[in-house]
Amino acid sequence: MQSSVGVCSSSSSNWLFRFSAAAAPLLPSSLTFPISKSSSSSLITLSTPSLISSPLRSTASASAADSSHLTEMASNDAQDPRLPRISSAIRVIPDFPKPGIMFQDITTLLLDTKAFKDTIDLFVERYRDQNISVVAGVEARGFIFGPPIALAIGAKFVPMRKPNKLPGEVISEEYSLEYGTDKMEMHVGAVQAGDRALVIDDLIATGGTLCAAIKLLERVGAQVVECACVIELPELKGREKLTGKPLFVLVKGA
């Protein structure tokens, strides 16, 4: 079992502060509030081809795997030393859900207790002094990252769900898929006018899902301060679909 990172030996009410304890800020001052568009470029990242592949997979997939590794970005900012481990904890699975898609699997990140804790810490450090009152997490992987962030920064957590999952009165927003459309729903009354909101998901691809979430929050009068994801796929230009809202990500995938 892992060492005592994250294990709370003192009273449990300290655990929030333990795992969101501030290191000296590693973010350049341009990334602190007010969060301008220019500062929303991501911290990252990371060069190491980090495919965590099964030793039993055929090498025929190796070339496909190479093109999926996380790319190195020229950056003027010092890279946060926690990012390489986070990046290499993400597993790329070729041809899922269909041929040609290199799926960024964050479940392996959740198995690395230090990397998962660091991921949450990076978001918490960014947002805890921003008076965020709502963390909206997109079903389902946004439900894994959103609640720990919400708990650490003192915000409420609001799930943004697929149709017919939320009981009671909802508002819904349709969005485009590659083929067809889908709908996202939010509870009426969960968010109020004047709430300052974050939208959290594990990954941004085309930006359609995040855009729907932004719209739902804005329809009830909330202010979407930023969208935050672990991973961005920049080639899909999702960043441009966020109706001008800034995007913060930890790592980028090719």
């Binding site: 079992m1 892992q2 060492s3 005592s4 990172v5 994250g6 294990v7 709370c8 030996s9 449990s12 009410s13 655990w15 929030l16 333990r18 795992f19 592949s53 099964s54 030793p55 039993l56 997979r57 597993r91 699975i93 899922f96 859900p97 799926f103 699997d105 479940t107 959740l110 198995l111 690395d112 207790t113 998962f116 804790k117 949450i120 079903e139 389902a140 439900f143 894994i144 990252f145 609640p147 720990p148 919400a150 708990l151 003192g154 915000a155 409420k156 957590f157 609001v158 799930p159 769900r161 017919n164 999952k165 939320l166 009981p167 009671g168 509870h187 969960a190």
Partner: protein, 198 residues
């Protein structure tokens, strides 16, 4: 290690607020079901934190290496518990969500195993990644509510097939027929409150 009656002491002052934070939605998803909606609990930061604290207090010194959360509402609680007690988080998901092939033969890392189960209303299938757990792991299973225990049974099966030892199942809400025999398939069951009637 566990008493026969695993429900927390009624005197815990946090439990009243937890019960009151849960909203009942009548006749959802179908007529006759009084749905216990925990999303209102997630909107109350203090009550949400207290809920997590109670689970963390219980499990932090038990050498738990895996917190398995049942999709989707187990995801609201499991990761925070896992982070606080230093465990891995393993999502147990609906079919075809976990990336990788669903296999029934030889095991490959990244492949997926599945277990069918009967719901309070309907039936479904739960999946887990091969390699997420291994022999020697001690696991707890988290979900928002236990009704028939069918989902938790499937979760226990998946973890045991992966070689883990399931130490306990934990839910926020447990139906009252579990009060006297707090177990699912022989594994202890722990829950905080009973369902609200309205």
């Amino acid at each position: 290690m566990f008493s026969k009656h695993n429900a927390p002491k009624a005197e815990d002052p946090r439990l009243k607020a937890i019960t009151e934070a849960i909203r009942v939605v009548p006749h959802f998803p179908k007529q006759g079901i009084m749905f216990q909606d925990i999303t209102t609990l997630l909107l109350d930061h203090k009550v949400f934190k207290d809920t997590i604290d109670i689970f963390v207090d219980r499990y932090k010194d038990m050498g738990i290496s895996i917190v398995a959360g049942v999709e989707a509402r187990g995801f609201f609680f499991g990761p925070s518990i896992a982070l606080a007690i230093g465990s891995k988080f393993v999502p147990l998901r609906k079919p075809r969500k976990l990336p990788g092939r669903n296999i029934t033969g030889a095991w490959y890392l990244g492949e997926v195993i599945s277990e069918k189960y009967v719901l309070e209303y309907g039936s479904d299938c739960l999946e887990m990644h091969v390699g997420a757990v291994k022999p020697g792991d001690k696991a707890i299973v988290i979900d928002d509510l236990v009704a028939t225990g069918g989902t938790l049974s499937a979760a226990i099966s998946l973890l045991e097939r992966g070689g883990a030892e399931v130490v306990e199942c934990a839910c926020v809400i447990g139906l009252s027929h579990f009060k006297d025999d707090c177990s699912v398939n022989g594994k202890p069951l722990y829950f905080l409150v009973e369902p609200r009637l309205q």
